[in-house]
Symmetry: C2
Subunit: 323 residues, 2 copies
DNA sequence: AACAGTTACGTAACCCGTAATGATA
DNA sequence: TATCATTACGGGTTACGTAACTGTT
């Protein structure tokens, strides 16, 4: 058994069982892959791929399991290289993060700026997407970390650590009737069309709040962008509900920013990563800088938890910062 | 990076950093190993072994981590082979168990007999040792399972599943004053020298029972063997305290067997195995046959627990059989 | 002086790439 | 017929073993 053989079966499985395509991607030849796969199958005494004549038509049950283990083996060989790097070049490496818009725009920048000063040689990669894209990137090992609020798509292979709470804010033009009304009640709010994030979680949370109060809401969702919501609010389309951290007293002088924490319950933002990710020291540092209570020891302890509920109970007593 | 290189560094670490000895054990040459290690170190850009001149004098911090990951990679390659076997030859394989004396002598035989009938082609390996030897065998992957009562030496890499409870019995010669005394109190027992197992756990448990009752005990420990204890009891040396399942009404007709469950609290016997062990179907079957409540699903669920306490709480409500 | 690891070198295995062949949709 | 996997074959790499060398205890 050789590591290349494992690499080949994994990659063939990743490329729709197309050996030619796989060969191209790996910069090698079809026959080479074909032969190595066959050699491995011979050694194991079992077929990994089903064939209809000469075409690979599927993965056998054995193959499924073998490929799964092969994947984890290959990940570990990658870990070994990372470990060596960690010692030889502790300040060289990559930190890649996928996050949702609000986090990328408002929560991450100050942290990343500080991080880049501490580790000028670490290459930063940022990607923005919705919650499920964040999770997909983690799964495919495209990014190391995801920063998001909606844990719906989380799987067991991932760890989600609570970072901070944040509240929604209500924004209206200065001339709006609600601008003078403090405090605002949910009844007040129900009278106007709402504009908020186009996220499954935010959406259901907001609607649920109205349902709980026995009201029906007129909610207009737009595409995930707080700045766009502000624009609509300025046009008088409706009342905006955005993250409080997305408001700025200077830039938003023409708007009135109202505290919504009494109406909408707070959200929690999490940092998520694969349990199998080898955490380099600068990664621990990034996590700590992002969320002060998540020091190296705490993170390591959390990784040992088997499921997210266990992680959450671990942080039950911890007072998170509110943004 | 090649699997052989990983095999070499792991084996050299296992053989006191002696490359020559390692080469002999692996049926290969010293220079071959030396060179491959060097190649790996070059690829990683870091030394795995410390050298004083030309001698390997230690493992570097990087090496420690690399070797640890290499070990798990090699275990997984072994898993792949086992997976293939599981499908191609589901009834062929090995089941090796280390257990303490009483379990090997009284609890395991009927189960193993039944198991051998179900799986005539599985090669059985039995080894007997004290609790710490059982654990050591697991660690070194010499045996698949350990059956024991004392979990003192257990580590996080292992899973211990509770199988059954068992009680101590008191045995005395027919002519002994205690023979007629039913029920027996701890005060009665304190008047005679006791003979019991030479096990850390049994010993402290028994002594603790006396301490809790405010009594001092005169306990003679012998070498772990219930039959030997019976012999001493027959000679009138003292009162025997042995597992109830180690008594036999027919063979021990000359002795009086007294219930001790009111005096000594019950013990729990566990089946222990490495979390990383790939469990073959016949192994699940063995576990179920040994302990009816441990079906495949339950075992898989327990494996997901991170520590033993979690496993134990999982079985809190389960009524275990008493032997 | 005995032992242990590295270097040097020749051989044999093997991985890979090109070309040809066979099978499939 | 075009696509794709397998088989056949040749070349270059490499892993391994023997032998000689060098450093350690």
């Amino acid at each position: 058994m050789k590591l290349q053989q494992l690499r080949y079966i994994v990659e063939v499985a990743n490329n729709e069982l197309n050996v030619s395509l796989t060969a191209e991607k790996l910069y090698t030849s079809q026959p080479g892959i074909s032969k190595q796969i066959k050699l491995l199958e011979d050694e194991l005494g079992a077929q990994i791929f089903q064939r209809s004549g000469k075409h690979l038509s599927g993965i056998t049950p054995i193959g499924e399991k073998v490929i799964e283990v092969a994947r984890s083996i290959l990940n570990k060989t990658y870990d070994i290289k990372v470990i060596a790097q960690e010692f030889t070049k502790p300040n060289l490496g990559t930190l890649s993060i996928t996050s949702t818009y609000t986090q990328a725009r408002y929560a991450l920048p100050p942290v990343l700026q500080k991080f880049m000063q501490s580790y000028p040689e670490i290459a930063l990669k940022m990607e923005q997407g919705d919650s499920s894209q964040c999770i997909t990137n983690l799964k495919n090992r495209v990014t190391d970390f995801a920063v998001l609020t909606d844990l719906t798509d989380l799987t067991d292979e991932m760890i989600a650590l609570p970072c901070y709470h944040w509240n929604q804010a209500i924004i209206v033009p200065q001339a709006h009737p609600l601008a003078q009304k403090v405090p605002i009640s949910i009844e007040d709010l129900a009278q106007y069309p709402l504009i908020s994030y186009d996220s499954a979680k935010d959406g259901t949370d907001i609607i649920q709040t109205f349902i709980n109060a026995g009201k029906s809401a007129n909610v207009i969702f737009n595409t995930a962008d707080a700045d766009l919501i502000k624009t609509y609010v300025r046009l008088g389309v409706g009342v905006g509900v955005i993250a409080k951290m997305a408001t700025n007293e200077v830039q938003d002088q023409d708007l009135v920013i109202l505290n919504a924490s009494a109406i909408f319950s707070y959200n929690t933002t999490y940092i998520v990563f694969l349990r199998s990710l080898y955490l380099r020291n600068y990664m621990y540092d990034f996590i700590s800088q992002f969320s002060a209570h998540l020091d190296k020891k705490t993170v390591n302890q959390a990784i040992l938890c088997t499921d997210t509920n266990q992680v959450l109970t671990m942080f039950n007593g911890v007072k998170l910062t509110v943004k």
